[in-house]
Amino acid sequence: MLIDDDPEAGASRVRAEGEGYPMRWRSWRGADRSAETAKELIHGATRKADAVIQPTSALVMEIVSAGWGCTQTLKSHLRPSKEMVTHPELQQAYIFFEFLSFFIPDERVCL
């Protein structure tokens, strides 16, 4: 037999073997608060990530679009390269990557 002191109720009660501790209103309130806190944390982290991903993605999108637009201008006029006969798609990929290199901001942005 276990005696479970309950200061909130100002009394002691007998707790059966293996019964465990009942959750009091404070624990429920605490549990809700934890869930709310977790939600707030997730919401805050998502907002913070969005705030940085959105502008960086916008910049990357411009670079990729510019490179892709240039590659598409050339595409139909390119002769297949002998060196890439087994993988002809490489020609377009390498040209696109070359354009991407061109559009990456260089160190003059910090001069």
Binding site: L59, V60, G69, C70, T73, F96, V109, C110
Partner: protein, 140 residues
Amino acid sequence: MSVFAFKLKLSPQQYLRIKEVILLMIVTPQVETFFGNWPDKTEISDQLHKSLESADATFGEAGDKSWETLTANILKFEGSQSSDVEMAAVRDLITTGLGKALADLHPDKFERLIKTASTAIETYERDGSSLLELLRQYQG
């Protein structure tokens, strides 16, 4: 991109940070797009990363001649059996394509995008968070 005369004054750290973020956001998606069914994409990812990382050396240092450098690099990928006339046509198309791209990507707009992204990265990392770490975790 060295054809624009940038008025931005990012610190070298800010520049390196934004450049690395751009590379991380470009390399994996583009390698997936072009080499999605290749068994091992690590080598091609590393090559593309190095190539983009050294763009400064290739185009930045070329200054006003960066356009010519780009044209010469692209012509290397053109079929070697192409005639001089075809090569000249490709050369003209590069100029046309670049002209259109640069008109769309106006210097002021490009600068504004860089500045906004740089400020956003700084704000994000102010509490010790790392955007590079976040991107690596997301991609890994």
